[in-house]
């Protein structure tokens, strides 16, 4: 950084560094698996991962409500399995990762593409070729378009944000607000018209409504620039996305479904499904997934608060995390 300001060694908490390293590793392909990926074999026995997609039927909401009438679904949430690195094989090997021994495909977590039934994105041939090209050059980004926008501190976008790390849901009269590591989505519940079509956004422009236990969100104005994972899947700026967040009655799980329609790159629409679980005071903090601490206060009760800053840390230090060549390629 060439600003005439003093520098000081960062004293950020350790797990913040984990995020930084995870981001940095996006480009140091083959040398490090993202530290955040739960697929990394642990030194001790790994906990049993629930890879099922629970049945949560849409229906009336029978849980608690907020004073404005919304179902109360506020809190910390995160995906139940897999990493964000690979869309169609969430426990498989993705671009830039070292080879490792894998159990057979049927024992690994299912594709996040739940429809069509083959679990693959129904791409037009040219678009599939672009995905393969991205995968080929991920480790050696000889062109700027092979650098993951995430490594440049762009938001993970839709739907990647829902299966990358954890997130928080806040609710206010007229709004549901999603906070991600990098990126914030403000869902407007008042049915105001969407922004003009020429405005394209990393987080899209969202309008939502509650149908019983399901938050239904229509997204327009999406810029299509984020990937769906290191595996490189993408859509265009002409995409329309309808999301359904269906919450179970005891507030422990929700299923996220995104119906993605884009005649520019697809031969037909497809659906992404992500099972998501709640994190509460009963859970131990986990870097990036549930990065909380106990707040300091005079009272006796346990107050949990998010321990990180929701800004991409690299973003105020230029592109220092990019290798020289990739940075120069910008």
């Amino acid at each position: 950084m060439d600003t005439p300001m003093t520098h000081r060694t960062s004293t950020r908490p350790h797990h913040r560094r984990a995020v930084l390293l995870a981001c940095a590793s996006l480009l140091t392909a083959g040398t490090a698996h993202a530290q955040t990926a739960p697929t990394q074999p642990a030194a001790t026995a790994a906990p049993v991962v629930d890879k099922s997609i629970p049945k949560i039927p849409a229906g009336p909401w029978q849980g608690p409500r907020l004073p404005d009438g919304q179902p109360d679904v506020s809190g910390f949430w995160g995906p139940t399995f897999g990493s964000y690195l690979n869309l169609t094989d969430p426990e498989g090997i993705s671009s830039g990762e070292r080879q490792r021994n894998l159990p057979p495909r049927e024992q690994r977590a299912p594709s996040r593409v739940s429809e069509p039934a083959d679990g693959q994105v129904p791409y037009q041939p040219w678009a599939r070729a672009k995905v393969q090209e991205y995968q080929t050059y991920y480790s050696n980004p000889i062109k700027p378009e092979y650098v993951d926008p995430l490594a440049r501190c762009a938001p993970p976008g839709i739907p990647q944000a829902l299966y990358m790390h954890g997130h928080e849901i806040y609710q206010y009269p007229g709004y549901v607000v999603f906070l991600f590591d990098q990126g914030t989505r403000i869902i407007h519940l008042d049915n105001k018209p969407h922004l003009a079509d020429n405005i394209k956004l990393w987080n899209g422009d969202s309008r939502g409504r509650w149908e019983g236990n399901t938050l239904v969100v229509s997204i327009s104005n999406y810029n299509g620039k984020s990937k769906f994972g290191r595996s490189g899947e993408f859509v265009s700026e002409n995409v329309k996305i309808e999301e359904r967040y269906t919450f179970d009655r005891d507030g422990k799980r929700y299923n996220y479904e995104a119906r993605i329609t884009d005649p520019t790159v697809l031969t037909r629409p497809f659906t992404v499904t992500v099972p998501i679980r709640k994190y509460t005071e009963a859970d131990k903090p986990r870097p990036v997934v549930y990065a909380v601490r106990e707040a300091k206060h005079a009272g006796k009760e346990t107050i949990i608060e998010y321990a990180e800053e929701r800004a991409c840390i690299e973003f105020n230090s230029g592109h220092a995390h990019l290798p020289g060549d990739a940075a120069a390629a910008r």
Partner: protein, 262 residues
């Protein structure tokens, strides 16, 4: 004939007095109820806010420049009480402002700059906290209002750590643990990572908030000093924040992949 008693007619003066008292009472009630409140009675700052002052061009009094509208300044006492070495740094920053201003790179504005930067920000408020979402950078700052304190161990943060309390209807916020990577305006006014900010947020009426920030930084200023701006509520029909990830514009054109032209 009826047996009902005829009510005694009250003296005229008493009527006027009563009417006057009622009017006063209703005005008091109006003054009390005129600002939005949460169910717990605390002022509710939820809404989309923006200042009209050119504070972000330069907090201090300044004539028009090619890159700044003139401004009378928003600093109490007109000028920031820099220590001599810091004043020299500020002048260097000013000369290099076109490229050195973190804002020109789209980086997080920090505190208090995000509040008077000339783009809207939205406050979402609950009894336990306020979330401030800034259009510029789409960053989020949390002000805790649940009697919690600054953590004992915490790193430097772009927007610091903010703990609020209520002084009557004024929200008083203590913010610290800042990085030195943000500026205060486009004129190169700056701080170190010893910055400590105390903010006071007070409704003037339902759509206007007085914002004051007292900045203390023994590495940079000879004494604490205070700036003040007025924030106005956006009331345009269907007004909403539009994310401004300006730092992405440098690489915007590389995504998404395009179909090759044959």
């Amino acid at each position: 004939m009826t047996d009902a008693p005829i009510p005694a007619r009250p003296p005229r003066g008493a009527c006027l007095l009563a009417a006057g008292l009622m009017l006063l009472a209703s005005q008091l009630a109006f003054a009390h109820d005129a600002i939005p409140r949460l169910p717990n009675g605390k002022p509710d700052f939820s809404g989309i806010w923006q200042t009209l002052t050119p504070a972000d061009d330069d907090l201090e009094p300044h004539a028009a420049r090619k890159d700044a509208a003139p401004g009378a300044g928003v600093v109490e006492g007109k000028f920031i009480p820099y220590l001599p070495q810091a004043l020299a740094q500020k002048k260097k920053n000013f000369e290099a402002r076109e490229t050195a201003d973190p804002r020109s790179k789209g980086w997080t504005l920090g505190v208090p700059r995000g509040i008077y930067y000339p783009e809207p920000f939205q406050i979402f408020q609950r009894p336990r906290d306020l979330k401030l979402v800034f259009q510029f950078g789409h960053t989020v700052r949390t002000i805790h209002t649940n009697q919690t304190e600054h953590p004992d161990v915490i790193g430097d943060l772009l927007s610091g750590d903010s703990r609020g309390r209520w002084d009557g209807d004024t929200l008083v916020v203590d913010a610290r643990n800042f990085t030195d990577q943000t500026w205060l305006d486009r004129a190169g006014n700056f701080h170190s990572n010893d910055l400590h900010v105390v903010e006071r947020w007070t409704y003037l009426d339902a759509n206007t908030v007085e914002y004051k920030a007292t900045l203390e930084d023994p590495q940079v200023y000879s004494r604490p000093w205070t700036l003040g701006v007025i924030l106005h509520r956006h009331r345009e029909k269907d007004f909403q924040l539009i994310e401004d990830y300006r730092f992405t514009l440098d690489f915007d054109q590389y995504y998404p992949p395009k179909r090759d032209k044959n």
